[in-house]
């Protein structure tokens, strides 16, 4: 009888309580003391765990920078490996706080998927990898070929467009997991492996004889890759966006992991604003330069990210120089690249 009474009571109270509204992502992350970051299950140079479970890579380091800016500690990140097919659902459902997993910014992902791309951390384009013995020198010669790709990507869409636009026939074999795509390509199930060119360079290094394969010169698409957050949380969107811009501005201003402590005494107003250093007036009074406040973060937000992870150029070199990928389009704007950050002021 008691149990029946409590059952009724519980259901009545349950009805009254309905569903508690969730707080903003920033509060969730702070309360948890950990950032949950969606990452590639294994793409050399961008996001891959070693046998001890330590993650390395360009996209992974970006998450560490966000963790350093938000929580003051770059180590407070949990990485969730996601396949191309799972990644957006994981973000939409709130399983992860930020998705940093070589994802292409497209209009439909912005509009109908309910996601927001916080910037383009890496400008990429889709390319083709073929065995040298195939004797193909250009993508235009691929009519009739069988192409292996990963399902649920912009890659499979671009592929259909490219062959249609060039009036060539082709066969596609699409797998859910990248390892299966690679295995099928290596076993000769298809003539061509296609993905973002950075991915091609990264994967070919894992082959037993990388020299037996070549990347074709054509780039058939624009693939602006960047971190993604859920729509509807402007504060969190700003935090991720401005962490990226802070890393870029740091490179531009020459602030590195090694010299960021010295830079705290810099008289350069741009560096002072980046690192939240108080500027001194001639009469000795001080003025605040704290831009972290506007994001809901502490004054050391950018300092922590640069000190613990490095500036954009450092992150790029640390992770991608091993793949022999040049800065190219990802050089700073003043060096002829596309990486351009709005000013902190």
């Amino acid at each position: 009888m008691k149990s029946i009474k409590s059952l009724i009571l519980a259901s009545v109270f349950g009805l009254a309580a309905t569903v508690a509204a969730s707080a903003g992502t920033l509060d969730d992350v702070k309360a948890r003391g950990q950032l949950i970051c969606g990452s590639n299950p294994g793409l050399t140079g961008f996001g891959t765990p070693d046998d001890q479970g330590n993650w390395t890579g360009f996209d992974v380091d970006f998450c560490r920078a966000v963790a350093a800016a938000v929580l003051g500690d770059a180590k407070k990140v949990k990485f969730v490996p996601l396949s191309a097919k799972e990644r957006f659902t994981a973000l939409q459902s709130g399983t992860i706080d930020v998705l940093s997993r070589n994802s292409t910014w497209t209009m439909s992902r912005d509009s109908t998927l309910g996601l927001s791309f916080a910037g383009v951390t890496y400008y990429d384009g889709q390319g083709f990898l073929v065995p040298t013995k195939l004797g193909v020198k250009s993508a235009k010669e691929l009519g009739g070929a069988t192409v292996c790709v990963q399902t649920g990507t912009t890659t499979e869409l671009n592929l259909a467009d490219y062959f249609k636009a060039n009036k060539m026939e082709y066969k596609v074999v699409a797998f859910e997991k990248n390892e299966e795509v690679l295995k099928a390509y290596q076993e000769g199930r298809c003539d061509v492996y296609s993905t973002d060119q950075s991915g091609l360079y990264a994967e070919v290094l894992k082959f037993t004889t990388p020299t037996d394969h070549m990347v074709l010169p054509e780039i058939i698409s624009k693939e602006p890759l960047g971190p993604v957050v859920r729509q509807g949380d402007a504060q969190w969107f700003n935090i991720v966006k401005w962490t990226y811009y802070a890393l870029l501005n740091a490179e531009e201003l020459g602030v590195t992991t090694a010299n960021v402590d010295e830079m705290k005494t810099s008289a350069n107003p741009e560096i002072q604003r980046l690192l939240s250093i108080k500027s001194k007036n001639e009469d000795g009074t001080e003025a605040d330069n704290d831009f972290g406040k506007g994001l809901g973060l502490g004054p050391d937000w950018a300092y922590n990210a640069i000190k613990q992870v490095g500036n954009y150029g450092e992150i790029f070199d640390r992770n991608l120089s091993q793949l022999k990928i040049a800065r190219g389009k990802n050089a700073l704007w003043r060096d002829g690249g596309l990486q351009y950050a709005p000013p902190i002021r």
Partner: protein, 401 residues
């Protein structure tokens, strides 16, 4: 507490009277419990719908099926109907559903044939035959299916040559690591006569069978029904085509550049999946068949032997018909398992319904809608299979008079 008379043992006296007496009436109790369960259920449903709506709104998304009419944009390795990247998402899902049905139907046929043979083999008096069947069942059914799919995929792909060194059968069928490529039949004006003739042959067979049974019941003489009707059924469409003046041509495959042009191809992904599903499910069917046969009392076989029936005939005419009644219900669950297990197709990139649900979800971001469609369709497929098996079961069960 007052003293209790023996008749009141079940109800303590304090509950008999007082303002709360109604609370202890079984009727009221029953109603209250049902009300509580109903309220809980309603609250759960309300919470799910409210929560989903609120979350979708936060993401600036709405619930709707408009995406079904948008262009899919991706190509597929194999399809039973015309499909290109210009087709709609709805058509892409239909391609997946047809591929699922194809693999399920073929898988069920192969698994049943293998399963019956192995199940009977396990009961063989020949130690080698029985041992081989036992080994097969014990090994295959104890290895996870996903692993077997991968193994079969590797076994299908690895030994096969590339396109240029394809195994050539009479310049018509080519076997390579791109699949089995064979001539594609093209039907022209007048080809409708073939299915009409086939249908006619099937109807004729049915009447023939009825007549043969009647004759046997009256005269005791048996007529070889299947021996005469199978050739007729097989030949009837050919006869139809011949009468229509052969409105049938074949598109022969030929090597052109990287691949075969023309013809039709069974992709290796499908072969691997079909092999894995049928060989795995066959082990369970074999066990079901064995159990069914063992369930028929030994006296039945002895009686058949006493009548002078051979062991094979006794099995076919006496034991199996009775065993079927035990076999069919678990057989139905195995068919359902096979249909649902076919969703592992995605592991080897065979575009089944699950695969396309995932791809469409990923390209459009309509997770809730796609999962809803997936659930409804798989449920529908399973219910259809179950309904068919129930019908079959009621036909086969012991007719009691």
């Amino acid at each position: 507490m007052t003293a209790q008379s023996p008749g009141e043992l079940r109800q303590p006296p304090s509950r008999e009277a007082g303002p709360f007496a109604w609370f202890y009436s079984p009727r009221v109790r029953g109603w209250l419990t049902q009300l509580a369960v109903f309220l809980l259920l309603a609250w759960g449903l309300y919470a799910i719908i409210f929560n989903t709506q609120a979350n979708l709104k936060k993401l600036n998304q709405n619930f709707g099926f408009d995406f079904l009419t948008q262009a899919a944009g991706f190509d597929l390795s194999t399809s039973l109907i015309a499909y290109s990247s210009n087709a709609t998402n709805a058509r892409a899902l239909v391609v997946g559903l047809l591929n699922t049905i194809l693999i399920a139907v073929l898988g069920i046929i192969f698994a049943t044939v293998i399963g019956f043979i192995v199940g009977i083999m396990r009961l063989s008096r020949n130690k080698v035959v029985a041992g081989a069947a036992t080994l097969y069942v014990e090994v295959v059914r104890n290895i996870p299916l996903l692993l077997q799919i991968f193994i079969w995929y590797a076994l299908v792909l690895k030994p096969l040559p590339g396109v240029k060194g394809a195994i050539n059968l009479f310049d018509m069928i080519f076997i390579s690591n791109r699949g089995v490529t064979m001539p594609h039949p093209l039907f022209e004006e007048g080809a409708w006569l073939a299915p009409v003739f086939l249908f006619g042959a099937l109807v004729a067979t049915w009447f023939f069978r009825r007549w043969a049974r009647k004759k046997q019941e009256q005269t005791g003489k048996s007529t070889p029904v299947w021996l005469t009707s199978i050739p007729i059924i097989l030949l009837s469409p050919v006869l139809g085509l011949a009468l229509a003046g052969w409105p049938l041509t074949f598109d022969y495959p030929s090597l052109a550049g990287f691949n075969f042009k023309g013809g039709m191809t069974i992709v290796p992904e499908m072969l691997a999946l079909l092999l894995a599903l049928s060989i795995y499910t066959a082990t369970y069917i074999a066990e079901t068949v064995r159990a069914g046969i063992l369930a028929v009392s030994h006296g039945q076989s002895e009686a058949a032997a006493a009548l002078g029936l051979s062991r094979g005939k006794a099995l076919r005419l006496v034991v199996i018909p009775q065993a079927m009644r035990v076999i069919i219900p678990p057989l139905a669950s195995q068919y359902l398992n096979l249909t649902k297990n076919s969703s592992l197709a995605i592991a080897v990139g065979y575009p089944d319904f699950m695969y396309l649900g995932g791809t469409v979800n990923n390209q459009t971001g309509k997770a809730i809608e796609v999962v809803f469609i997936l659930m409804v369709v798989y449920l529908g497929l399973s219910l259809l299979t179950a309904a068919f098996m129930n019908w079959f079961n009621s036909r086969m069960k012991l007719v009691e008079r």
